[in-house]
Amino acid sequence: MLLSEIATSGPDFFYLAPWVVFFPVIGLLINMIFGGRLGEKAVGGIASTASGLTFVVAVLLLISLRTHHEGATVLLAEWISIGELQLDWAFRVDTLSTTMMLVVGGVGTLIHIYAIGYMHEDVRYKNDPGRFRRFFAFLNLFIAAMMILVTGDNYLMLFVGWEGVGLCSFLLIGFWYEMDTLAQASTANAMAAKKAFITNRVGDFGFLIAGMIMFWAFKSVQFDTVFEAAHHVAEHNPGVILAITLFMLLGVAGKSAQIPLYVWLPDAMAGPTPVSALIHAATMVTAGVYLVARSAPLYTLVPQAQFIVAIVGGATALFAATIAVGQYDIKRVLAYSTISQLGFMVAAVGMGAFVAGMFHLVTHAFFKALLFLSAGSVILGVERGHHHAAHGHHHDDHAHEHNEVFDPGDMRNMGGIRKRMPLTFWVYIIGSLALAGIFPLAGFWSKDEILAEALSLNFTVYILLAVAAFFTAFYMGRQVWMVFFGEPKHEAAEQAEESPPVMTVPLMVLAALSILGGALNLPGLGTFTHWIEHTYEKFHLHLHHGEFNITVAITSTVLALLAIGLSWVLYGRKAVTQDQPDPLKRILGPVFVGMENKWWVDELYWAVILNPYIALARFTADVIDWRFWHDWFHDKVIAGTFQWVSRTLLDRWFDQRGIDGFANGLADSTKELAQWLRGIQTGFVRNYALSVFIGVVVILGYLILQ
């Protein structure tokens, strides 16, 4: 590029794109090789710096994109070239992928910093400080994989990242694999990790099928090639596009925790809280939303698929929100809230409101990361209080304290934390209000954009989402009242302590983002809309422009305030302890029991899928494999035949009769000959003399007669 062009068109940093993957990989390697000799601060610092540098690169890409709207594709290496299949490791830099890079890099860095403080205490509560380094290696690996996912220029590179983040998710959910969430020896965390991995496999299977159909139909999985040919294929063979999009939806349901594959996400809270915030709320789970937004040129061709995606999203949003109402674990409420909010995003991108979906993705990353990290701060604060309390009772109540398993995450053990942890309280309030969609916080703008789009695009989905929004405000209100207000219900909560600045500073940054995030796409300005549109204009995609709808905004705000008021009536005035039933139970009765028990979906899956599957596995293992293959086929047929051949045919016939017969026969006949010849040796001298005489006669006779 000439200097004059730089002057006119602005700087071009696209060539830096591969560094979004390289930096975390370098950080990971440094920590793996030298981390053992470094202190906790250095390990955390290196990991955070690596993550921070990816954010810097993302910002540079953002600056470049402001003047070069069309973006760029940076070829790093040719990967696979077989016949028609040509796959490269190329980095696709456009407004959509850069948005994801900024979210992953930015929120990721804040969570890295927070985790330095969090893990410092976590590894000590669980008596294994050696694991501190491993945690940060995994976090950097996650950032690298997520960056591969969002920067991939073809569906296969995207899939590589997709699987990479799935692996990191597995590793981090099972980070404390030898215990359960209460640090008791158990396989519970390991089971949760397996559940997440296997459930995601079901979704990945769908994604793979979609990719294979795509290659069959388009002879390519490269984004631009596929999107440009999509119109042509859709005219001749619309079923193919429908199949691709619906199989892709299965992958989306797995990764972004939608019905029917959402069940892994609540259990994923077994991982340390920064993991819940980074992977299972802010970034990884949004990969499905990103996939649909990225595949917009395909989805817009098949309205049936769009309808199904939107309905799945809407149903998930409402369903998960009802479950969140009945939960007592602070992180579990947030987990179901995440599923519900992902439902909002999937519904939005399903309806074709790609900008609204991506907007909510960004703001949700801010406030949900904030909420999870604050929840982690609360849990650690209560844990500290518990240790203080236990220490105070050291002499008189020693045995009792150690036998009792204390759950620092149970909201019924909390209450009144507002006074003990004021900073955490305030940022939590900001996060909750943002999530509930209260003006003018970030969630208000993004959620209302989705609702406004839904009203004009799909009324069913609008109703589902509006009700879900009501529940959202209600369960957040319930949580805030139970955790922060009222009187402490446990001495641990009474003595809870505020977290150190290394944790609270990232919280404050995220709180600021949760307040200001809405400014990204204010009605009338539409900065974010124009920004994302640059990605789509290449494919002449007509994006639906949702206008700000004041009726929708007022309706949802009134609903949210109503829900918060209702939650105050039920939970704000009187403390809920573990001994008494939830106040809502008296009103709703069996419905609340259903919410409390997650509508027995896990039990249903056990009954319908897992138990029959395990029975089938037992059957194949025991009957087919062991009894049929091993006992009958191997032992009887193969080994039996072999033994018959060796014993009867080879041993008895060939060896014993053939070879032994020959050798023994030779010996026997020699013996018989000897037996016969021995008869000549009579021992009588005259016999010998006679034979000599005969011999002489014969020889002489011969000589004479010759």
Binding site: R678, Q681, G683, R686
Partner: protein
């Protein structure tokens, strides 16, 4: 003078008697004497042919034969004594321990 065939015929008869004696008798002394008979039959044939051919070599051969026979008798009698000491008998059929 008698023709030489008479001597040769006598020699053959003596040899046959000696051979027959060796083959059919069991007494070691008798067998020994039969062997001497065969040797002397040979000596007779030598002398007779020496006379016919007027060559002295045949007669000299006879001296050798007589010498060897004397040595043989010495050895043979010693063997017979040894056998007798062992078996209290000179029956050669008793000496059949090499029977197969």
């Amino acid at each position: 003078m008698l023709p030489v065939s008479y001597y040769v015929g006598l020699s053959a008869v003596l040899f046959a008697i000696g051979a027959l004696g060796v083959l059919i008798r069991r007494n070691a002394i008798i067998i020994f004497m039969s062997i001497e008979l065969m040797l002397n039959a040979a000596n007779l044939a030598f002398v007779a042919f020496a006379r016919v051919h007027e060559a002295l070599s045949g007669q000299i051969f006879v001296f050798f034969v007589i010498t060897v026979a004397a040595a043989e008798v010495a050895v043979g009698l010693a063997l017979i004594v040894a056998i007798f000491r062992n078996k209290q008998s000179i029956d050669v059929d008793q000496m059949s321990s090499l029977k197969g």
